[in-house]
């Protein structure tokens, strides 16, 4: 049986990689995919702990995270499409409308 620690470390590494993707990539779609990667990493940790504690709640949380992620992807991609229509670019460094 694979120890839980191994899963957690794997999930941590994936999460960190996702973080780097969010911070360093400029293509908005890649950034988005990195966010998905981070969500998956956290899901992995949840499921691992769920097995550890023999409780199904962690899996249910994962289920909900997946659902929310689906909603988020839909809205996020719609936003990207809308932004692309107006600015003809999805480079996030060109988007600073929120500047104070």
């Amino acid at each position: 049986m694979v120890p839980t620690e191994a899963y957690v470390i794997l999930s941590m590494v994936l999460f960190a990689m996702g973080t780097l993707g969010v911070l360093l990539r400029r293509n908005a779609i890649i950034v988005f995919m990195s966010v998905e990667l981070m969500l998956n990493a956290s899901n992995l940790a949840l499921v691992a702990f769920s097995r550890q504690w023999q409780g199904v709640d962690g899996q249910l949380f994962t289920f909900f995270v997946m659902t929310v992620a689906a909603a988020e992807v839909a809205v996020g991609l719609a936003l990207i499409v809308a932004i692309f229509r107006t600015k003809q670019s999805i480079n996030i460094d060109e988007l600073h409308l929120m500047e104070g």
């Binding site: 988007l95 600073h96 929120m98 500047e99 104070g100």
Partner: protein, 875 residues
């Protein structure tokens, strides 16, 4: 036949619907449609009343109580344990009222269709008439005091609306009409105070307002007596009972019908009579009827002994309480006891006192509604309304409400001797005084108005001496002949106006003009009081373009004379009505007046009552007055020569007006025979074979507990007739010439030095109005003026304008400048500036680039993770 009574609610519904239609669609309806709707609604009530009559005769005169389903619980206050049912009582008294109210009312509706022709608010008038009729029928058929009061107030409102119907007449006459309406309304308010007090006292004492409960027999002694009579078929020594027995034996229905009728409203349990009844015929009946006398052979109740106190209406309860001895108590039916003692607030008193008080307050109410001293002053002024209104309100219906209430409450009056004496005095004095005032009037309708007051005085005096059936009898005959007289006078007025217009259209300046002026001058001579409240007829409006400025008064008898040739039908019917009013044998007025006088005589001689003597004296004098002023009126109006050119052009009235006159005339002749007294001898013309003896009284005995049968007294009949004939003879002597008035149109009595003060006093209506003006109205106005001055000068000028305004301005000034502008605004502006400065610095951090936010977030996340794991790292 039981089902027939169930249509009773329709008697109120029909006129209500008629009124509703005429109100809502009135402006769109033409006169014909309005008149037909109103008259049909009124006529329908008469036929329903006939149905009620046949119901009662078919059910051995046992009352029916109808609960219209929709109105159930119309007044219910659970917290006060007060629930007044909406019940209509169909008994002999209410059906008597129903019959003549609806009959006369219907005729008046038809008459009004002709009389009101051309009025701009024609349909409104019929709506009011129908509404009036509906309320009057509520008043009459209600089974409790509150329903009666609803009707009472309703007819009050309608009379207000109708008297002031021509409130918009030009030249100040509208104001006078409106004032007359207000006067009627306010005088009635004073009376209503009495009614309300009587109601409150009744409810406080007895805990309900029902006349009788549905299962109750209104006059148990009478009923029981009938049953026993029928059982035994025994001859009675007592003349009273004997005749009664004859009457009912003659009907041949027998006991079975009677018993079944009672079964409809009571349980079929065998009644256990508590004690021997002390009724006169009891012993004889026991001998013959034997075992059947205590409880009905069919097991039906023949009296109210099985009912507990709480199951009785107020009259039954009052009877029980009044018969209690000192200190005795009675079970209410729920285990509690009730005694003679009544506690009202902190005042503890005996039931006798309470009943007397109730009766006294009712007398006040009746004085308002039935125009008795001291509240009668509204009625003559109410002649300002259209003539059909005068007939409807003053002859047939509304003014009888007070007498009806007193007769309905006869139990209270029967036991309140002192109050009965007061009632007698008030009634008698009113009869005499009003009769006296009538003979000095020039206005044809005003004479009739005082006559009405006088006749109502007869009825009230009858109640005072305990002749309740006689009061109702006189009310009934009076309704017919007084309606006849009013309608006849309306016909005369109508004709005079037509004649006048005709004169203006064709005969202007044709010689009679000087005569006209003379009449005009006479109308405004020294006796200036009679210029009030003339029935200035609505037809004027059609002819306003004539702009005649002579104040021709079509109601002034000084302009009339010799009309008998111009309007024969009106003349004949009018003479019949006048003769009936004067009490000439064998017309209806003779019988009813004679019964009151005979009762007064019997009360005086046999019972030795003071009230009997008073009533006899006052009423005989009033009867003399009656005959005298009616003779004066008939001769002034119809005989001699016309005193105005208009008379020459007077036409006979249209059929809508004459037909009711004829019908009423016939009834005025014969209606008196429905209550022939005992032993009439030849005076009855043998008509007792048709009508029976004292049929009305027997009929009323089923609902009027203390009714008694009148006997014929030759002495009284002869004296009364003699007095009447003497007055007529005297009247003809004085007014019989071709022109009884002198060249200044002054009354012969005025011309005669000896009678002049009396005539002036009568013409001025005994200065009642002046007295009220000085005693009440002027002080009231003075107080009102003073209060208005206080309100304006003190409250408005000083308190509002000076104190409050200035103080408010001062405070507002302080609050606005230093406080609001300086402190509060300063604080707010300071905070605003501060926020602006800080945000100017902070906004630099917001680059708008997502990645910066993300890295900031990550820094935070890592910091949190490190902090969270710090214990683990160290351990």
């Amino acid at each position: 036949m039981q089902n027939l009574a169930l249509i009773a609610p329709l008697i109120i519904l029909f006129p209500s619907v008629g009124a509703f239609i005429n109100f809502v669609w009135g402006p769109k309806l033409n006169e014909r449609a309005s008149a037909i709707i109103g008259s049909v609604a009124a006529g329908a009530t008469f036929f329903i009343a006939l149905g009620m009559f046949s119901y009662l005769t078919g059910n051995n005169f046992q009352p029916a109580i109808i609960d219209p389903p929709l109105l159930d619980g119309w007044l219910r206050i659970p917290s006060a344990n007060l629930e007044i049912p909406w019940q209509q009582r169909i008994d002999t008294l209410s059906v008597t009222m129903l019959l003549f109210v609806t009959f006369v009312g219907t005729l008046i509706h038809i008459y009004a269709a002709g009389y009101m022709h051309g009025d701009k608010r024609f349909s409104r008038f019929f709506a009011y008439l129908n509404m009036f009729l509906a309320f009057m029928l509520i008043l009459v058929t209600g089974n409790n005091f509150l329903m009666m009061f609803v009707g009472w107030e309703g007819v009050g409102v309608c009379s207000y609306l109708l008297i002031g119907f021509w409130w918009d007449k030009p030249k100040g006459e509208g104001i006078k009409n409106a004032n007359a309406a207000r006067k009627a309304f306010i005088a009635n308010r004073v009376g209503d105070f009495g009614v309300l007090m009587a109601l409150f006292l009744t409810f406080w004492t007895f805990g309900s307002l029902d006349f009788f409960k549905p299962t109750e027999i209104a006059n148990p002694a009478h009923y029981e007596h009938l049953v026993h009579e029928d059982d035994s078929h025994a001859g009675e020594e007592d003349s009273h009972s004997g005749e009664e027995g004859d009457d009912h034996g003659g009907e041949g229905e027998g006991e079975s019908t009677t018993a079944q009728t009672v079964a409809l409203s009571t349980d079929t349990t065998v009644a256990q009579e508590g004690e021997e009844d002390d009724h006169g015929g009891e012993a004889a009946a026991d001998d013959h009827g034997g075992e059947e006398s205590h409880s009905d052979p069919f097991g039906f109740y023949v009296n109210n002994d099985h009912l507990t106190y709480n199951q009785l209406g107020v009259f039954g309860q009052a009877e029980k309480l009044l018969k209690l001895g000192e200190g005795e108590t009675l079970d209410r039916g729920d285990g509690t006891q009730v005694g003679r003692t009544v506690v009202i607030g902190s005042w503890t008193t005996d039931i006798d006192t309470v009943v007397s008080l109730i009766a006294l307050f009712m007398l006040l109410g009746a004085a308002g509604k039935s125009a008795q001293i001291p509240l009668f002053v509204w009625l003559p002024d109410a002649m300002a309304g259209p003539t059909p209104v005068s007939a409807l309100i003053h002859a047939a219906t509304m003014v009888t409400a007070g007498v009806y209430m007193m007769v309905r409450s006869n139990t209270f009056f029967y036991y309140a001797d002192e109050v009965s004496l007061i009632v007698t005095i008030i009634g008698g004095v009113t009869a005499l005084a009003a009769g006296f005032m009538a003979l000095g009037q020039w206005d044809i309708k005003r004479v009739l108005a005082y006559s009405t007051v006088s006749q109502l005085g007869f009825m009230v005096a009858a109640v005072g001496i305990g002749a309740y059936a006689a009061a109702i009898f006189h009310m009934m005959t009076h309704a017919f002949f007084k309606a006849l007289l009013f309608l006849g006078s309306g016909s005369v007025i109508h004709g005079m106006e037509h004649g006048h217009h005709h004169l203006h259209d064709h005969g202007h300046g044709a010689g009679g003009h000087g005569h006209d002026d003379k009449a005009h001058a006479a109308a405004h001579d020294s006796h200036g009081h009679d210029s009030h409240g003339h029935d200035s007829h609505g037809h004027d409006e059609k002819h306003d373009d004539h702009a005649h400025d002579d104040h021709f008064d079509p109601q002034d008898m000084r302009t009339m004379g010799g009309l008998s040739r111009r309007m024969p039908i009106t003349y004949i019917t009018y003479v019949i009505g006048a003769a009936a009013l004067a009490g000439i044998w064998p017309l209806s007025g003779f019988w009813s007046k004679d019964e009151i006088l005979a009762d007064a005589w019997r009360a005086a001689i046999f019972d030795g009552k003071l009230s009997g003597y008073i009533a006899l004296g006052l009423l005989l004098a009033a009867a003399f007055m009656t005959a005298f002023y009616m003779t004066r009126q008939v001769w002034l109006v119809f005989h001699g020569e016309g005193r105005h050119d208009a008379v020459k052009h007077v036409p006979e009235s249209v059929w809508q007006m004459t037909v009711p006159l004829i019908i009423l005339g016939v009834f005025s002749v014969f209606i008196g025979f429905v209550n022939l007294p005992s032993d009439p001898g030849v005076s009855s013309l043998g008509l007792e074979a048709v009508f029976g003896l004292h049929a009305l009284t027997d009929w009323l005995e089923y609902s009027v507990l203390h009714a008694h049968v009148g006997a014929f007294e030759w002495l009284i009949a002869l004296v009364a007739t003699g007095v009447g004939l003497a007055a007529i003879f005297l009247g003809i002597r004085i007014y019989g010439g071709a022109n009884p008035l002198n060249e200044k149109n002054e009354d012969p009595l005025y011309v005669n030095r000896g009678f002049r003060p009396l005539f002036v006093f009568s013409n001025a209506r005994m200065y009642w109005d002046e007295a009220y003006d000085r005693l009440f109205i002027r002080p009231f106005q003075a107080i009102a003026r003073l209060l208005a001055r206080v309100d304006w000068d003190f409250w408005h000028d000083y308190v509002h304008d000076s104190v409050i305004t200035k103080g408010f301005n001062g405070v507002a000034k302080i609050l606005s400048q230093p406080v609001d502008n300086g402190l509060i605004d300063g604080t707010v502006r300071g905070v605003g500036r501060l926020v602006k400065g800080i945000s100017g610095v902070l906004r630099q951090a917001q680059t708008g680039y997502v990645r910066v936010y993300a890295v900031a977030l990550l820094v935070g996340v890592v910091a949190v993770v490190v902090l969270m794991l710090l214990p683990v790292l160290q351990g």
